[in-house]
């Protein structure tokens, strides 16, 4: 079993890294021929960085748009962020001090994440407009994330597993030295779902995470009169 999970995680990590790198390269390589920032927009690069930071950290546009989605979405994402940070302790020895510091918060974050997900999922059933646009894969994605959160929390509070051994397994994985993984059904399910999430990432709407950094309406400075901006394929038109 340990070997199976080891292989699974190597594959998942490979798909995630190569897949996302490939998609990012695609985003980066595709030219943006016209300046289309949604105005009013910052006029300088520094301003753009600030706008992007507000979008990524605070979900500024979503806040302006819909307070419910913002509240649940933000709760989920910030929860997820803290939970991920908390999990760094399985990959570092000695554990970084800031990771140690946030351990207790990580637990609340786990609940916040699950609550946010559940609320977002409820909206997919309860709000007619969102029900209309939801596809089966939207529901499955929420089920997957909620499953990860639920199994994780269950291991913390209901059916403990040997986390020292889990840590040894992951530290081992990182140096290609496969250690035994505790035989624990909750853990198996948790890890299976995580691996699945890593594998679907590059093929799914989870691409919104890198996508936002490449969104021309958000990442372009509003300076078209001051600087000339021509994409390579468009410049060719001028040589004809």
């Amino acid at each position: 079993m340990s070997l199976l999970f080891a292989i699974l995680f190597y594959v998942a990590a490979l798909v995630l890294v190569v897949g996302v790198a490939y998609r990012i390269r695609e985003f980066a390589r595709t030219p943006a021929p016209l300046l289309i920032p949604t105005t009013p927009a910052p006029t300088s690069t520094g301003g753009v960085a600030l706008r992007m930071a507000r979008e990524v950290v605070l979900f500024e546009s979503l806040f302006k748009s819909n307070l419910w989605i913002w509240a649940f979405g933000w709760l989920f994402h910030m929860g997820l962020f803290l939970v991920l940070a908390r999990h760094l302790r399985y990959f570092t020895e000695p554990v970084w001090s800031w990771v140690a510091l946030i351990q207790p918060f990580g637990i609340y974050a786990g609940f916040a994440m699950a609550a946010g997900l559940a609320a977002l999922w409820a909206r997919r059933f309860l709000v007619e407009r969102i029900r209309y646009i939801s596809t089966p894969s939207d529901h499955l994605m929420l089920a997957l994330l909620l499953g990860i959160a639920a199994t994780g929390l269950a291991m913390k509070f209901l059916m403990h597993t040997d986390i020292v051994a889990v840590k040894a397994f992951f530290l081992g994985l990182m140096v290609f030295d496969i250690q035994p993984l505790p035989a624990h059904p909750g853990l198996y399910v948790h890890l299976l779902l995580v691996a699945l999430l890593m594998i679907v990432f590059p093929f799914s709407k989870l691409l919104h995470a890198p996508g936002i950094f490449f969104s021309p309406t958000r990442n372009q400075a509003d300076n078209p009169r001051e600087a000339r901006h021509v994409a390579p394929w468009a410049a060719k038109l001028e040589q004809q």
């Binding site: 289309i36 006029t43 646009i133 969104s215 009169r225 000339r228």
Partner: protein, 514 residues
């Protein structure tokens, strides 16, 4: 698609007591039938005359090409999470309740096809991710619903990733054009701009007559010799304005106003018969090529006439193209170091923004104290301002972000005493489209246009009833034409809409007053 003589039924929705989000009415607008362009109109602008053999594969190939050329399209196809934040932001959804007018659903018309042909899950499990084959039904839905998007970008303000449905609509239109499915209204107009020089098909001599008539009218009204010059070489300013300004009401009142401003400030200016149109419908169909060709007329006119400044009149999408795209397309701007753009940029005066909006020109002159006004001349008006979508969300004026909101308002307040704002959430970057933008300003879509105007009409009604507003100023030719037509459906007088320079024109002192 219905025969061109089928009369569309036009109904204004009732004002809502509380502007709640409408319940879905699936297929409410499925009967909206934009007229298909005839072969001669398609061919005149370089597209196949009618739906081509094997259009399915050709459409997919075109989509692939666009995904490689436009980062916006590529990123937006992949990034939507179906969060639903945009679902209630589109005026056409608010006015019609048709779920396919929710921005995300409009994108999904294309995204479902994108998934099927360009993503692994869509190829393997189409049902799971909502992927669809490119069929005639899908194409018909595209033609119907991409012609129910005014490319106003309101949804992009609210999307957490800035997904701009206008970009998707433009791409869809480009794909449809490439396989021979064009919209009659827009393609006819693009044909006219190339053949005659403007969207309305007004030939040079007629234009000259019109302008002469204006000079006489203004002389009669004011006693001043205000000139409306055409094709004057060596003038300082080339004014490029929407052709509706030459004779449509209330547009012409603003043209009269521009002339008075230049006259009062002593600036020599000219119009150009070759570039007698600021509008650029190339943008509406997402065609870089057409947009560039149409914009190039302005570059050529500027070089030919040897002007130092290029100024754009009151037109929303034209200002977006001019402000955001002209430098890219034609080199009208600054900061270039390639020979093509430098040729023009060394002729233009670097002390002015190139191009400038007429409101920037007027506001600068006001600040310099070079214009005098009798504000009381506008006292019969209680004025509000409708932000036009392309100006609001696709351009700027002045030096600071948001100048596109502040400068027109500052002008109004400088020339009139009674100014009232409409409700927040309906102005500035959150403004609602008039309902007629994006190439939809045509009679067969009147029902859609009337319904799409609902949110703006509600905001106007609130200030008309509450504050006595009787004039809605705007700086867009399409807004003016659209409101003139739809205001009566909502119980307003059509003369209630007009330009900012119409107000300037009313109050400006031309130096010969006693």
């Amino acid at each position: 698609m219905a025969a061109p003589d089928a009369k569309p039924k036009v109904e204004a929705p009732a004002y809502r007591e509380f502007p709640t989000i409408p319940a879905l009415q699936p297929e409410a607008m499925a009967g909206s039938n934009p007229y298909v362009a005839a072969d001669k109109h398609n061919e005149a602008i370089g597209f196949p005359g009618a739906l081509v053999e094997g259009w399915e594969q050709k459409a997919i190939a075109k989509m692939g090409e666009l995904l490689g050329k436009y980062r916006s399209l590529r990123v937006y196809m992949d990034s939507c999470v179906h969060c639903g934040a945009c679902t209630d932001k589109c005026h056409y959804f608010i006015g019609t309740g048709d779920p396919k007018n929710m921005p995300v659903a409009r994108q999904e018309l294309m995204r479902s096809v994108y998934r099927r042909y360009f993503t692994l899950p869509g190829k393997l499990f189409p049902g799971l991710v909502g992927a669809r084959d490119m069929t005639k039904d899908v194409l018909d839905d595209w033609f119907r619903y991409y012609n129910q998007c005014s490319e106003c970008r309101r949804c992009s303000v609210f999307c957490p990733y800035g997904i701009d449905t206008a970009e998707v609509t433009m791409a869809a239109k480009e794909i449809m054009h490439s396989v021979g499915l064009g919209h009659k209204y827009v393609n006819e107009i693009i044909g006219k701009v190339h053949k005659i020089g403007n969207n309305l098909g007004l030939p040079g001599p007629a234009l000259e007559d019109t302008l002469q008539g204006l000079e006489e009218d203004v002389k009669e009204d004011t006693g001043a010799d205000v000139r409306y010059p055409l094709d004057v070489k060596g003038a300082e300013v080339l004014l490029v304005t929407p052709s509706a300004d030459f004779f449509a009401e209330p547009h012409v009142e603003s043209l009269i106003g521009y002339g008075k401003v230049f006259h009062a400030a002593g600036i020599s200016w000219t119009l150009s018969s070759a570039a007698s149109e600021a509008g650029n419908f190339g943008m509406f169909i997402g065609s870089y090529d057409q947009m560039r060709k149409i914009a190039m007329r302005v570059r050529e006119a500027a070089l030919e006439l040897g002007v130092k400044r290029i100024v754009v009149g009151e037109c929303g999408h034209a200002w977006r193209v001019a402000y955001s795209f002209w430098n890219t397309l034609t080199g009208i701007g600054a900061g270039a170091n390639d020979p093509f753009a430098v040729e023009l940029q060394k002729q233009l005066d670097p002390n002015y923004k190139q191009p400038s909006h007429i409101c920037e020109v007027t506001w600068d002159l006001i600040r310099q104290g070079r214009l005098k006004f009798d504000k009381s001349a506008n006292d019969h008006r209680i004025i509000t301002f409708h932000d036009s979508c392309n100006v609001a969300r696709g351009s700027r004026m002045g030096d600071d972000p948001g100048g596109q909101f502040d400068i027109p308002r500052a002008i109004i307040k400088a020339v009139a005493n009674n100014y009232v704002e409409m409700a927040r959430g309906t102005t500035r970057e959150k403004t609602f489209c008039c309902g007629g933008g994006g190439g939809l300003l045509t009679d067969e879509l009147l029902d859609l246009r009337v319904k799409g105007a609902l949110p703006r009409m509600e905001a106007l009604k609130a200030v008309a009833d509450g504050k006595g507003v009787n004039f809605m100023a705007t700086i867009c030719a399409i807004c003016k034409a659209q409101f003139t037509k739809v205001l009566p459906f909502y119980g307003f007088k059509m003369g209630m809409v007009g330009g900012v320079h119409q107000l300037v024109s009313t109050a400006i002192q031309l130096g010969n007053e006693q």
